[in-house]
């Protein structure tokens, strides 16, 4: 119950009353717009009088919003649908939006080609413009296909009313824009697979086993079935549909286009907006109301896609990060390893500015591959070392062009012509490629690893060193945190990498630091105490860190006795900073991972902290203005320390098992500078948390990882790296130092133009990561991606990568939190969203009426995600300081895959599992995040990758309770839930689901029980993003707000 429910208590303080009052006002305003007469938007509609949107705004917004998708051409027909809103929302609120809409669309005749654009994969819409390039082509498929399209897209036109009715708007649009040539456009790829049902596809790759490296995160092996969650739905769609017949990707493609072709888009090209444009105007008339069921929402996608990274010499548009797909590296790297916010690179910097979208790369060099993917190939050039461009030092890659019978090669990054080393000569084939290109991974794969030659070694590759540092101060011992840590370490020892190069060490600390020397003939270890915590040192040169094989027994014994040894410890102080420093000194000769288990606010010694939070509270006069300072590190001490750690390749992970404020803002500096992270167990419970602690630790040490890494991203001339962000230490502008890097860490790299690209050229990015494996081999992982350049704004929108962009926005917001007030950050986030949409509206959809909110297909979820971000823990006013700091700290290194759920959680119903029959996936379809989906007799699980909240309504069948919780009443069940498996099918399923989620997220969710009528229940409800909350808009209201803002900007 820790969470402060206050804000939520009033569930709907100002519930939108009836459509009546406020609502009416909307309509009015809207009326100008397309919104039809339907007066009342849905219930939720009315923004509370006082609230956010000024009355005026109101009107504009809502209607349009929904319309958004509609934009395209949504024909008026939809109108009728309006009912949805008005009507019975309550009743069947949640249906997955998609379904309904589609029906219509699908059925729709192919004719709709045009409309296809929207709905389908983002791509669709834009194509027209360029017609030229192959790209365009693909779109058609989308529609066709099908069924799943997002509701709106199909429905589109109408604002919200989803048009289930048969009458699909299609016709309306004239825009054939896409007309582009049929060639397989970029998307071509995806579609093909789509058709396939999940089941079948994977097979092809099935053969490949998962790369050896990845250890199973939790329970099961990373299963075959990836979660198909959210956004993916959208993208995926295109494929599915259509292509029934053509499995073969390439072939198929053509077909599709054909269908479309009629469009002859070329003429139209000028209007990128095509899809919508014409209609827009027309639409206006549609008086629709916003149907909450029709507004854009992510759709679960359950099918597994096989994704070839390049097809026909072109970069393929990657599937959504959250969908399940199997990558075939055909020249570009797997999107898991590196993906760009835009899948086409703007030719000029102005274009980027105009679009409002960020240009950034998310790099996750050790991302877990799908088990069916081929492992990354290892290339050994021997003494010579990998071939590199002699000017920019870029590594050989598939995009380097060999010329002059192979005697020279031209660097794809800097354009320099290099001599091919004699040993590496090879003739070119008729296609201009080297004859051996397909045999050499470095010439045909987007990602390869090179064995580092001597020039990359400044010393012997370091051993894998794991040093454990455990808080044994009074509180730590009393709360059971010490025991939990010791037991977790003890159990995790067996997961350490095998071999003589794996070393371990341990120390404990309270107001002094206790090291242990385990290398003794005698049974008893030696305890060495460093009492000077102002100016620490290491008590032994050697023997503190030993090969695990030599000391496992004594270490286990020691771990067992530590809790009892300190049982009566009365020292309440904890010298966290000093202990880290001392441990660091012990590790200095080698570097390695320092795993710190801390339980209280560090109160003494170097880097001690004070209870700023309390001070801040008591000092109300400073008010909100200064509140964000608590989110900044209190001083530079820990930062300075962290920089030194990083210099000597020491990576720090901090496990905070606490029941009080610990100033994460200050503490997190250390892990974030050294490539580690903070794990937060608050409030620590000796009952439920040890399991998570163990699993987190185990995953921490067993996941794929590397040490003493240096990373640099190079890009083609025309762009330059602007900045890196993530958990690392940067000493020179071009490189980042990562004492450790693992599969969960992502680094964001932003770029800026320093020149222009030619329209048909490609822009390449190469990430080179020099690191040492846990087994002591020095390697360079080189990750390449080459993307086409475009000067068309509409292409940028069409090829925008929603999740990557959103991750960018989340990270930007997180970095702003410590320096600005929450409201400023929220405004910033909102305006980012608005700017992008406005740009689209202005330049790509100009034809449409001002009354419509028009969303680019690829980014149609942007408003929803933005809303979720605004309501996320980090940006809330009322959050605990530590919770917010923690949120900021994890966001800094979060991957695209996890960033979205962190902000926009997934909710599923548990009570009706038995009545369901989803063969497709273990995890049932998720529910939209609004309270209409919450029933009093239901049990729901909402998870964000970190925590799992199990909400139990107050009218739940006691038999169900009995089955899941083993007790027919929840009266005595603690909030911090330990989910047990009981002997019944339901319990088994629930456990399976939870475990599957844990596996997917590579995180052992903490489960919390939330009950209606209890603060925990209120907290749960505050996570329902679409709901209206005090001080926060509902989804519909937010769309209205966005629309109004765009309108006002346009005028």
């Amino acid at each position: 119950m820790s969470r402060p429910p206050p804000s939520f208590t009033p569930q709907n303080p100002t519930p939108a009353p009836n459509p009546g009052g406020p609502a009416s006002s909307f309509p009015a305003s809207f009326s100008n717009l397309q919104i039809s007469g339907a007066p009342p938007p849905f219930a939720s509609a009315g923004p509370p009088a006082g609230n956010g949107p000024a009355p005026p705004s109101i009107r504009g917004p809502q209607a349009p919003v929904p319309g958004a998708r509609p934009f395209a051409g949504s024909p008026s027909p939809p109108v009728q649908q309006s009912p949805p809103f008005g009507g019975p929302p309550a009743v069947q609120p949640l249906q997955p939006p998609q379904r309904p809409p589609f029906h219509g669309p699908l059925s729709g005749p192919p004719a709709q080609a045009q409309r296809a654009p929207f709905r389908g994969p983002p791509a669709a819409s834009q194509p027209p413009p360029f017609a030229g390039p192959p790209a365009a082509v693909s779109q058609p498929p989308p529609f066709v296909a099908t069924p799943q399209l997002p509701p709106y897209s199909a429905a589109q036109p109408q604002l919200f009313g989803g048009p289930p009715g048969g009458a699909v708007p299609l016709p309306t649009y004239s825009m054939p824009p896409f007309g582009g040539p049929p060639q397989q456009g970029p998307y071509g790829g995806p579609p093909q697979f789509g058709g396939q049902r999940p089941g079948s596809q994977p097979p092809s790759f099935g053969a490949h086993t998962a790369p050896a490296s990845q250890p199973p995160p939790f329970m099961g092996v990373p299963g075959a079935s990836a979660p198909a969650f959210g956004p993916p739905g959208w993208q995926g769609q295109p494929q599915p549909g259509v292509l029934p017949g053509g499995l073969q990707p390439s072939m198929r493609m053509p077909v599709m286009p054909g269908g479309m072709q009629p469009i002859a888009g070329q003429g139209i090209p000028s209007t990128p907006t095509m899809p919508y444009s014409p209609h827009a105007g027309a639409q206006v008339s549609t008086p629709s109301k916003i149907d909450p069921n029709q507004i854009p929402r992510p759709i679960a996608e359950t099918s597994v896609v096989i994704f070839e990274t390049r097809q026909g010499g072109q970069a393929a548009v990657p599937p959504a990060a959250s969908s399940e797909f199997i990558v075939k590296d055909t020249g570009n790297c797997s999107p898991r390893l590196m993906r760009c916010t835009m899948n086409q690179i703007p030719c000029t910097g102005d274009l980027v500015t105009t679009s409002g979208m960020p240009l950034a790369l998310m790099v996750q060099p050790f991302a877990l591959p799908h088990p069916s993917e081929e492992p990354i190939q290892l290339v050994d050039f021997g003494e010579m070392g990998p071939i590199r461009c002699s000017r920019c030092k870029a590594y050989i890659n598939p995009f380097m062009r060999f010329v002059d019978q192979g005697k020279n090669f031209i660097c794809n990054l800097c354009g320099f012509s290099n001599d091919t080393p004699r040993e590496y000569l090879c003739n070119l084939g008729p296609d201009g490629r080297r004859r051996d290109a397909d045999d050499r991974p470095e010439l045909c794969r987007g990602t390869v690893e090179f064995i580092a030659s001597k020039e990359f070694l400044v010393r012997e590759p370091m051993p894998a060193v794991y040093f454990f540092l455990v808080d044994v101060s009074m509180n730590a011992v009393h709360t059971g945190a010490t025991a939990a840590a010791c037991s977790a370490i003890s159990q995790a020892l067996s997961d350490l990498p095998e071999g003589p190069r794996t070393m371990v060490g341990i120390a404990t600390f309270d107001s002094a630091i206790h090291f242990y020397s385990l290398k003794r003939a005698q049974q008893q270890p030696l305890m060495l105490i460093v009492p000077d915590i102002q100016d620490v040192y290491t008590p032994l040169q050697m023997d503190l860190i030993l090969p695990v094989s030599e000391c496992r027994d004594s270490l286990e014994q020691l771990l067992e006795s530590i809790p009892s040894m300190f049982e009566n410890n009365r020292v309440a102080d904890s010298a966290f900073g000093a202990a880290m420093k001392a441990s660091f000194l012990a590790m200095k000769p080698t570097g390695g991972k320092l795993l710190v288990f801390q339980s209280v606010l560090p109160s003494v010694g170097t880097g001690s902290l004070s209870a700023r939070e309390a001070e801040g509270r008591s000092n109300i006069s400073t008010g909100d203005k200064e509140a964000h300072k608590l989110l900044q590190p209190v001083d530079k001490t820990l930062k300075t320390m962290a920089l030194e750690f990083a210099e000597y390749q020491v990576c720090v992970d901090v496990f905070l098992t606490t029941q009080s404020y610990t100033d994460i803002a200050s503490i997190s500096v250390v892990p974030s500078t050294t490539g580690g992270r903070v794990y937060y167990y608050f409030p620590f419970s000796a009952l439920s948390d040890p399991a998570k602690l163990f699993n987190d630790l185990r995953w921490n040490i067993s996941r794929p990882q590397g040490f003493e890494a240096v990373m640099r991203v190079r890009c083609s001339q025309g762009l330059q790296v602007q900045d890196y962000s993530g958990n690392f230490c940067k000493r020179v502008p071009t490189d980042i130092d990562l004492p450790a890097i693992d599969s969960d860490k992502a680094i964001m790299v932003t770029f800026k133009h320093d020149d222009k690209f030619q329209e048909n050229s490609e822009c390449a990015f190469q990430c080179a990561l020099l690191y040492t494996t846990v087994y002591g081999q020095r390697r360079i992982r080189v990750i390449n991606i080459s993307l086409p350049c475009t000067s068309m704004l509409s292409n940028l929108f069409r090829y925008a990568d929603l999740e990557t962009q959103f991750t960018y926005i989340v990270k930007q917001a997180a970095s702003g939190i410590p320096t600005s007030s929450p409201s400023q950050v929220r405004d910033q986030v909102t305006s980012t969203c608005i700017n992008i949409l406005q740009s689209y509206r202005k330049y790509c959809a100009s034809v449409s009426s001002s009354g419509q909110l028009i969303l680019p297909e690829a980014l149609k979820l942007l408003p929803l995600y933005t809303l979720a971000l605004i309501k996320s823990i980090g940006l809330r006013n009322d959050g605990r300081i530590d919770d917010r700091s923690y949120w900021v700290s994890i966001v800094s290194s979060i991957s695209v895959f996890l960033a979205v759920p962190l902000v926009f959680p997934r909710m599923i119903a548990l009570h009706d599992l038995m009545s369901r029959d989803d063969e497709d996936s273990l995890i049932p379809n998720h529910l939209t995040l609004n309270s209409e989906n919450i029933q009093d007799d239901g049990i729901y699980l909402l998870e964000n990758g970190e925590d799992g909240f199990i909400y139990v309504g107050n009218a739940v069948n006691s038999a169900t309770l009995e089955q899941i919780f083993g007790s027919s009443s929840l009266a005595g069940v603690p909030n911090q839930l330990v989910l047990e498996q009981f002997d019944n099918e339901l319990s088994r399923k629930v456990n399976e689901i939870v475990n599957e989620i844990r596996r997917q997220r590579c995180s052992y969710l903490r489960l919390r029980l939330c009950q209606k009528g209890d603060p925990s229940g209120d907290f749960f409800r505050s996570l329902l993003v679409e709901d209206k909350a005090p001080g926060g808009l509902s989804y519909v209201e937010f769309l209205v707000h966005v629309h109004r803002q765009i309108q006002s900007k346009m005028t």
Binding site: Q522, L528, I529, P531, S561, M565, N568, V571
Partner: protein, 782 residues
């Protein structure tokens, strides 16, 4: 004289029952006269010498004191009016009433302290009834681990013996150090627990206590806590509850096992020593930590830090030489030229340590065993100020270390009688001022009327602290005569002068005692009365006092030319007290009380105390510390060794300390205090090599060989530190230990008239004969 040096343990104490010897037993009354005496007015006292020899057993009641400011204790020289129950203090002539419990006093019932033979008497100071038992003695061992395995094994061996000898209730602590300092928590049973301090950083006592969780705790209850039932061994994890020092200092009975395990596991320092470098050794910090730890004991608890050092301090405070082997340890030459970069800093550090230890009342003992210097010269301050013991040897396996180390723990007959927490107060008659004290003590800076303006050694005080003292510890007190106007008027004059030494100390058995020695001497009036002065001259004491005085001056004064100063003093003395006709050297003669004095001076000039350049600063410091704390007889042996000849013809007899004493058929036994040399003449050596001593018919030869050995053993047994025994043959390399001490009456310059079988010394030094010729000539010059 020198021959009967073994007197220390024999009843016939040459220093008398009071153990006080004065350079002059008759004192001139005026300052001018005093200065004309050349040899300063000084007393060598040995405050707690052999209590067994006292005329009276300890008196179980507190002594009576004269009224302030005199505060002298009642003594046999007091005039007593039995009727009025009044005693008159001989020092200040104040009248004091006896307290009521002396009511029974009468001519026939005189308390022991008034008996004439009780000029020295001891009182037992009983604590208030019910007060805690006296605190147990504390032994905190500080062991250097930067030594090779073999040496460490010797250390362990000695340590085990020591632990076995310690009284059960004694508290023991252990600090080991090398690159860092390890303080072992003996009271923690779960595993071996060590507090580690870095060697590079000087830490204050407060910091140490803080870091050990001892600040604020421990002190008040210390003695009691140690008595706490051993029950639940509070595991030392939480200082706030386990107050204390008793985590680190445990009764031997409780920690013998732990200690023995620790010793077993003790390894040479594990920190790497780079090639071309010395081991990193942080002696300074180790001693700081030890001192800091003891700081948590109650002041007044008898505690000693026993440091076993195996090399120079190369890190942190107290460093005496850098790690780089290419830098040699400072020599006297470097010190003279101010070319010892670390010296002053180190001295300052140890000065601070000394102050701390003195304020806590704790002792620092140093056992240095190394081929190179360890920094005794720098540590001298801390050792001497606290009254610590010091032993310098070459190896922990050497008997000098082994036997000496054992001695300090032995009880019974050979006990050193180690006492703690002594305070010496001096009271004297008017007109007498105290300039200061040379010896193992510290001035308490307690100013009083009897403080002289000029200061010698530890001065400016009427009281001195002796954190540690033993039966042999002696001090030299320098006096000054400064008659006031009034008293210098004839008629008023009291013919006797009185000096009273009051020593309170903690007896080895734990109780506090006060020993009072009151002496009386005669004033000599006028300048004419040389006769009386001469009669009262003690040449041995004078020689030793001069040696101590000159050593001090050499340390304090730059550019001080000791030889010249000695020569001049000797000449002045001879001019003043010799019998001669002006300008006629041949007429020169000296009173028997002075007869040996020139020879003492001659040997002093050549001794290690003056000719320091043959020795390292460490050795010099060592020699001087012992010179300053030994009894007169022992000190004389340091200046002028004794030489005994053993031969078939004559019984063992002292012979001249001259190269001429060497003969092929003699065995010589040299006692130079620090070393004892048995020197076999050439012939004897040959016989011995041919093993005649094993043949029954040559029993006598065997006995002859045995005799000096036995004699040497007697010397060794009675001495601390144990001297080095050198057995050598004529012309052997070890013979240098003897030759260096002999008067070079025959050198290679005079080799032509050397009798066969005799020896010569390769030196350009003048012989005693030449020295005397010059002396005579100069003394008689007008």
């Amino acid at each position: 004289m020198a021959a009967d040096r073994s007197a220390a343990s024999t009843p016939a104490d040459p220093d008398g029952p009071d153990a006080v010897r004065l350079t002059w037993n008759a004192w001139p009354r005026s300052k001018v006269e005093a200065s004309r005496c050349v040899v300063p007015l000084a007393a060598s006292i040995c405050p707690v010498r052999s209590p067994e020899s006292l005329a009276s057993p300890p008196l179980p009641y507190p002594p009576l004191r004269c009224k302030p400011p005199c505060s002298a204790l009642i003594n046999p020289f007091a005039r007593v009016d039995y009727a009025a129950k009044i005693w008159i203090c001989p020092l200040c002539f104040s009248r004091n009433h006896f307290p009521p419990h002396y009511a029974g006093i009468s001519e026939n019932n005189v308390p022991a302290e008034l008996f004439a033979q009780c000029s020295t008497v001891e009182y037992l100071v009983a604590g208030a009834p019910g007060s805690p038992a006296p605190p147990p003695p504390v032994f905190l061992f500080v062991i250097d681990t930067c030594i090779i395995e073999e040496e460490l094994e010797y250390v362990k061996l000695s340590m085990r013996k020591a632990v076995a000898l310690l009284p059960e209730h004694a508290l023991v602590g252990l600090v080991t150090f090398g690159t860092q300092v390890h303080l072992h928590e003996l009271g923690f049973s779960d595993l071996s627990k060590i507090y580690v301090f870095r060697g590079t950083k000087d830490i204050s006592k407060e910091q140490i206590l803080d870091q050990l969780g001892l600040s604020g705790v421990g002190r008040p209850g210390f003695p009691k806590m140690t008595q706490q039932p051993g029950g639940q061994q509070v595991n030392g994890m939480h200082p706030s509850t386990t107050a204390g020092v008793n985590r680190f200092l445990l009764p031997v009975s409780e920690c013998e096992c732990t200690l023995s395990t620790l010793l077993d596991e003790l390894q040479p320092d594990q920190w790497p020593v780079e090639a071309g470098n010395r081991a990193i050794r942080c002696t300074g910090v180790a001693l700081s930590v030890a001192a800091g730890l003891l700081g948590a004991c109650m002041p007044g608890t008898g505690a000693r830090i026993i440091a076993l050092l195996g090399g120079p301090c190369t890190e942190g405070p107290g460093v005496i030489v850098s790690k780089d082997l290419s830098e040699p340890v400072r020599s006297h030459k470097d010190l003279d030229k101010d070319a010892a970069p670390h010296f002053q800093k180190a001295v300052k550090f140890y000065d601070g340590l000394a102050k701390q230890l003195v304020s806590q009342g704790h002792v620092l003992d140093v056992f240095a065993s190394a081929l190179d210097q360890v920094g005794l010269a720098e540590m001298k301050l801390a050792i001497e100020r606290t009254g610590g013991l010091v032993v310098l040897s070459e190896s922990f396996g050497h008997s000098v270390f082994k036997d000496s180390f054992k001695r300090i723990f032995e009880g019974g007959e050979h006990s050193l009688g180690l006492s703690f927490n002594g305070t010496l107060e001096i009271n004297c008659s008017k007109d007498i001022k105290v300039q200061g004290v040379i010896g193992p003590c510290t001035s308490l800076e307690k100013k009083g009327a009897l403080c002289a303006d000029t200061v010698v050694g530890q001065g400016n005080s009427t009281a001195w602290k002796m954190c540690g003292l033993d039966r042999n510890t002696s001090f030299t007190v320098f006096f000054d005569v400064s008659p006031s106007e009034r008293t210098s008027q004839p008629g008023h004059q009291n013919p006797d002068l009185y000096i009273q030494f009051v020593t309170s100390y903690q007896h080895p058995e734990g109780q506090m005692r006060i020993r009072v020695t009151t002496i009386s001497r005669k004033w000599v009036d006028g300048s004419t009365n040389t006769e009386e002065l001469v009669e009262g001259f003690d040449q041995e004491t004078a020689a030793v006092v001069l040696a101590r005085y000159i050593s001090l001056k050499m340390e304090l004064e730059e550019e001080f030319d000791a030889t010249r100063w000695l020569d001049r003093s000797l000449i002045r003395l001879c001019s003043r007290f010799g019998d001669y006709r002006k300008d006629d050297p041949s007429s020169f003669s000296l009173h028997s009380n002075f007869s040996l004095f020139p020879q003492f001076m001659f040997n002093l000039r050549r001794s290690q105390f003056v000719q320091v350049f043959n020795n390292s600063p460490d050795e010099t410091a060592y020699f001087r510390m012992l010179l300053n704390r030994e009894s007169i007889t022992n000190s004389v042996a340091m200046i002028q060794p004794s030489l005994i000849s053993f031969s078939f013809d004559t019984p063992p007899s002292p012979v001249f300390l001259d190269v001429a004493s060497i003969a092929p058929d003699r065995i010589l036994l040299l006692d130079a205090y620090f070393s004892v040399v048995i020197f076999h003449g050439m012939t004897i050596a040959q016989w011995r090599n041919m093993c005649y001593q094993n043949q029954p018919e040559h029993q006598q030869f065997a006995q002859l060989l045995q005799a000096p050995q036995e004699e040497a053993q007697v010397i060794i047994n009675g001495r601390f530190p144990v001297p080095r025994l050198v057995v050598c043959d004529q012309h052997g390399s070890q013979a240098r230990f003897l030759l260096a001490k002999l008067n070079p009456s025959a050198t290679y310059n005079s080799a032509h008239d050397v009798p066969a079988g005799s020896d010569i010394i390769f030196t350009d030094d003048v012989s005693f004969q030449v020295f005397c010729e010059h002396l005579q000539r100069l003394a008689v010059q007008s």
